[in-house]
Structures are given as C-alpha cells and as structure tokens.
C-alpha cells in the first residue's frame, strides 16, 4: 500500500449500491455533473473486473454480442477513439467509427440531422466527441439509444475523469469501493479550455479529494472556486502537499489570441520538472490525460518516471472504464434482470 494514501470513507467500503437499475438510473453518460457520488463509485467498481480481463491473453467477453456501437467523433482524437473502439470490441459489439473529416458534416449537414441519421441506423449506443460544449447533450435528446460523452468542447469528458479516479485508486492500493477521501490533488495547466479539468474537479471533489487548480490567470475560468477547489497561480505553492499532480496540455487549438508569451516561458513557470515535483509530497504521483507536449508542461524525466508517472496506467484503465460504461448503459437494451427501461424524461 502506498505510504501516504487517503483514508476511504467507511461507508464507501461497504460497496452497497441501490438494487438493479437503481444503481445507475441514467440513460446517457453526458457528464460527471449528472452523477451522484455512489454512481461514480458504481462505475469504478464495475470497471474492476475489466481491468483483470484486459490483462489476460484471451480478452473477449461477448456480453454485447450483436449490438452496434457508433463512435461519432466530430473532433479529432486518437487515443479516446481507439480506447472506445477496443472497449466495444472486447465486449463483442460491432463497432463503427464515424470521423467528422470524412462525413457529411463537412458538407453542411446540421448536427441534429447527423444525429437523426445515426439514430435511424439503430445504433445501440453512440459515443460522441464534439468541439462545442453541450453538443453531446443536444444529440442525446434526439436519439433513442444511450449516448456517451467522449468530450464536448470545454464542458466535460466523463470517462477520462472516471479512468483517472480508478488509476489513482489502484496506484494508492485502495480496494474496490473506496472513495478518495482526503487525497490532495493538484491540477495544473490550461484549466480554462479543459473539459478534463472540469470532469476531474467534479469527480474528485465528489469522491472526497481536496483539489487545487493552478494556471496563469488568463487560463483560469472565472469563479472556478465555486466548484470547491483552491485556486493557485504559483505552481510551487500549488504543489505543496500534493499527493497527485495532474498535468494538462495547452489547448492551442481552442485559443483565440495569445494567452501566454511563449511555450518556453510557460515551461519556466508551469512545467513539471523533477525539481519541481520535489516540492510535492515525497512520493507524489504524476498524471496526464495526453497527448503530452514533452518539454512544455511536462519533462520527459517526469513523464517516463517508472515509480511516479501513471500516464500509461491511465491509458490502460481507460479501456476498462469504457467497457464498464458501455456495459452498464446497454443493460436496459439487453434486458438484464433488474434493469427495467427508464420511463419519462431522460435523466
């Protein structure tokens, strides 16, 4: 067990969840913001067996055999798309990828029309990434099957936050069911443009962690402290006491105008070097959702540090988390006992 690990709340270790479909009474996964604490823990726990399966040489489970999953990515992605594709395939589903670059979206079709088209093809789940905040929710209102948010603008990226929580739980040696009570996490980087930051703030604070965020003022969203985080502009101060340091890249593609003078200057103030890492707790762990800009927000010695860096482990848990989300969200369609269809409005 990790020496400075957090102390899970006693109630979280009971792993008692509401029965059947009440454990996760949502049709879609559009954001961590829609989830209660126990629902986050439920998804984490559901991912545990998939972590094990993924380490076997035989990785197939045929739970979703016969189902069709569409990965509709309106924004470029490599790792998230691949992760969802592998997750779907390991569960035995037929997985189809739609890239915006090769789709009719480029021909002027509206997002709603695209959504209706996907819906008419009778997908059993649709995974969506889109450059605009709220786009996934808009599509979810229009289609009949579960929708998973794979990142919408600067709003949310829920599966990333879930895989980060699971990675931390494993790295800290915490058993299934544990929350992250008392864990001190510092998130540093382009908070303003980051959906990963928002989802992680929601998830980590819900799980009891103490979250600090650090960025230059121009990259810090207004009134972010209302989300229950401490705000820092000085990285060294933000690192003090941190048990987990989560680094984010500069999202140049979302910046209009200049937000920082130069990458070199950014590295000087906010780059995570081994020296800087020493200001955190002695055994602090380092995370990064990728893609990394080595030599800007994170030095290679840190990124590749065998004991401290969790970056490849995050990617590994990503597949398990996405398998869990796909499996849980398709239970109603698969008529899993206890998972009656949801009535009324989409939750």
């Amino acid at each position: 067990m990790h020496p400075s690990n957090p102390t899970p709340s006693p109630d979280s270790l009971t792993r008692r969840y509401p029965a059947g479909g009440l454990a996760f009474p949502h049709r879609d996964l559009t954001g961590i913001g829609q989830l209660a604490r126990h629902e986050i823990l439920y998804l984490l726990d559901e991912a545990e067996p998939w972590v094990e399966l993924n380490r076997q040489s035989q990785k197939r489970a045929d739970l979703l055999s016969g189902l069709t999953i569409i990965n509709a990515f309106f924004e470029n992605s490599t790792r998230t798309l691949l992760s969802f594709e592998i997750a779907g395939k390991r569960l035995g589903a037929d997985v189809v990828n739609m890239h915006a670059a090769t789709s009719s979206v480029k021909k002027g079709e509206t997002l709603i029309d695209t959504a209706m088209t996907l819906n008419a093809m009778r997908a059993d789940a649709i995974v969506i990434r889109h450059a605009s905040s709220g786009a996934v929710r808009l599509i979810a209102e229009k289609v009949d099957c579960p929708v998973l948010n794979a990142g919408d603008g600067q709003h949310e990226h829920p599966t990333q936050a879930l895989l980060d929580a699971l990675t931390i739980r494993h790295a800290m040696g915490l058993p299934p069911g544990s929350d992250l009570n008392g864990l001190r996490v510092t998130i540093c980087g382009d908070i303003l443009h980051s959906r990963v930051a928002r989802s992680n703030i929601l998830s980590l604070t819900a799980l009891g962690a103490e979250v600090s965020v650090c960025a230059p003022p121009a990259l810090m969203p207004a009134e972010i402290e209302v989300m229950g985080v401490k705000v820092f502009h000085d990285f060294d101060a933000a690192l003090k006491g941190a048990q987990v340091v989560m680094m984010l890249r500069l999202q140049m593609e979302r910046m209009q105008g200049q937000f920082i003078p130069s990458p070199r200057e950014y590295r000087h103030l906010y780059g995570l070097s081994l020296e800087r890492l020493a200001r955190a707790e002695p055994d602090a762990l380092v995370m990064h959702p990728g893609p990394m800009n080595r030599g800007v927000e994170i030095d290679s010695q840190v990124a590749d540090h065998v004991e401290r860096s969790l970056i490849t482990r995050q990617v590994e848990r990503g597949v398990a988390i996405r398998m869990a989300c796909l499996e849980v969200l398709t239970r109603r369609a698969r008529q899993v006992p206890g998972w009656a269809p949801l009535g009324g409005d989409r939750a």
Partner: protein, 410 residues
Amino acid sequence: MTPQPLVIINGRLVLPQGEPLAAPLRCVGGRIVAIGDDAQAQDGDSVFDARGALVTPGLVDLGVFAIDKPAFHFGGITRAALMPDQAPPLDHPARVRFAAQSGKPDFWVHPLAAATRGLEGTELAELALMREAGARAVSTGRRWIADSGVMLRLLSYCAMLDLVVVTHAEDAGITGSAVATAGEVATRLGLPSAPAEAEALAVARDCALAEMTGARLHIRQVTTARALDLVREAKARGVQVTAGVTPAHFMLSDLELVDFRTFCRFSPPLRADADRKAVIAALADGTIDVVSSGHDPRGPEDKRLPFADAEPGMAGAETLLPLTLTLVRDGVIDVTRAFTLLAGNPAALLGVNAGRLVVGAEADLAVVSPDRPWVVNSDKMAASAGNTPFDRRPVEGRVLALWKGGARID
C-alpha cells in the same frame, strides 16, 4: 386613402404625463386632432368603445432585426427601427430606401443606417445619403467599432448631421467569441465567456467620445451595473447619452443557461442576477430610456445547435409589452413611464412625430388591456419563429385593437 375619422370612447388615455385620463380621443386624416372634451364624435366618425381599457400610443420598437408584421401587430408595435445587420447590411442608400418602404402602409420601418461599410468598423458609410433615403439614425449594428479613431470621426460626423448613433456596447477585444458572461454558470458549462466589464469599457469610451463631439449616443442595450453607473454619471455631466434594454436583461439572469438553452443566447449575453437587479433599478431611476424587443426570429437551423454555435437573439415583439408591464405591477415604474420607455422616448430619438398621445401626432394607437392574462406559447406565436425564452410563462397585458395612422389593423 384617408381613413375615416375615428373617435375612441370610454378609454383611459396614457398621456405623456400624469395618470391615465378617462377621456375620448379623436383622429382625423391619420392624426390626433382632439383629446378630452373637444373630442366628441361627429357624423360619419367611426366610434370605438374601449370599455375602460388603456388607450396608448402604438409602440416604437428601437432596434429589431427582422420585419415581422404579424408579431409586431400582435405586440402593439406600429413602428420599428430596423437594425442594419441584414444580409447584405443596410450600408447603401438604395437598401435603406427599400427597407423604409417595406412595411407600409400598416407598419412603418425606420431603417438604421450602417455606420460603416459592411459594418466592418473601418470605413464610414454614406450616412448623409442614407439619411436622405430615409434612415432615421445610424447604428454600429450588433458589433463594436474597435478603432477609436473611426468611432471619433463617426460621432463628430453624426453630430453634424444631427443623427443619433445607436451603439452596441461590448469591447470586442475582450469578448472575442464569448457567448456567455464569465462566472460560475459559464465555468460549469464550459462556455466561452467574457467578463461583464467588457460592457463598461465600451460605454466609458463611447461616452467620452460623445462628450468630446457633442454627438447624440444611444446605447441600445446596457445590461450591467458598472455600465449603468457610467451612463448615469455621463447624463449628470450633460452628455447626450441615452440607454436601452430588452426585457430579457431585466427578466432573466445567466442561470437560465443551464441545460445549454440556446433560446437564452443573446448578444450581449445574460448577466449575473445582481446586474439584472441593477437594470431594474436603472429603469426606475430614469437611467434607462428605452425598452425594445430586439426582435430576431430564428428557426431551428439557427437555434437547435450547440450553444456556442447558435445565433443570438429572441423573438421578442409579442412579449415586449406584457413583460414591460411586469415592471408596473412590481411598482418599479408607473404605466405612463412604461409607455414613455416603449414609445415616447424611442420616437423622440428617431425624430418621428409619434409615440405620444398629443394633438397633432400620428394616430398610431393601441387599446390595451393591461391585466388580461395569457400564456406565451412558442409553438403558436405570430412571429415567424418561436425562439422565446419565455415559453409557457403566464403574462398579463394584451393589445385589443391597433391603429396605424388612424387606420385599423385587423
């Protein structure tokens, strides 16, 4: 065609001053000719019995984005100043002339000339020629002129021409592509946002330039406490500045944005609740002079999109009057001031002889039941699209009859 002489009896006249006056009103040749005892019906007059309802000036809507007669008539609006943000923009005398004729006879359009070519904010448009063609004022559109030198020359030129300059107050260098006001809601939703102070900066600069040039400046929407303070101070110094607002900014705050409701995407965006309250205070103390609809009907192709990709604006003509009357019910203003905000002041800014019940004015009249209840229904609106954030809201105040130039509009 001259309309038949008209006498409205049993109405309570909303005159420019004082309490509503129970008195008849008579119109001949499209103008008000008598109010009170002189206004007796004569042989051949058409007589309308208002049955105790208010008789008011037809509303003058300063700053609409589309000519949408059914919606305007539903809302008691008889004249509207058309924003230059058309496709193509109203930056040419021929387009202004066409727009000025587009509503007649039962609705008058007063085009606002684009201040700069293409509304690009760089070269002045042919403002004097557009004035000849029927432009009643000049507008920067839904944009900010970033170059202060251009703005200075624009204001001094318009001071010479005695044209009001209608501006949009958002410092675009700060707002960029923002679609929300910086704060908790925008942060949680991950929406591109800009600080509310972008408005105060714009107001400060434009008031300073108006003071320097003696130009008449009308800031179409002032929506933040800081900017309203600046307008208040400028007025106290004698600067010829007036301010307007639309009901959205005194009815709603940025909390409405949760769920990414694109019907609440406006330009400027909805503000914090403290700013909404400051707008109400400014309506009460006279800092705000005009309430307009900003009518901009938008169909699903413009609104059923992710929030940041949707077009701003709302279909506001039908709800302008009842939402303004909520201020009367709440005791913020009296009914006389409500119609000064909705008709008298905008008519004066445009220099048209309407908007007030006085002898000699155009007989643009409405009979209004101020407390008749109805429910806004975005599916059944007179407007060409139902993009209202007030869907399902019960409101009070309905136009029972409307005349333009003494002729009844059915």
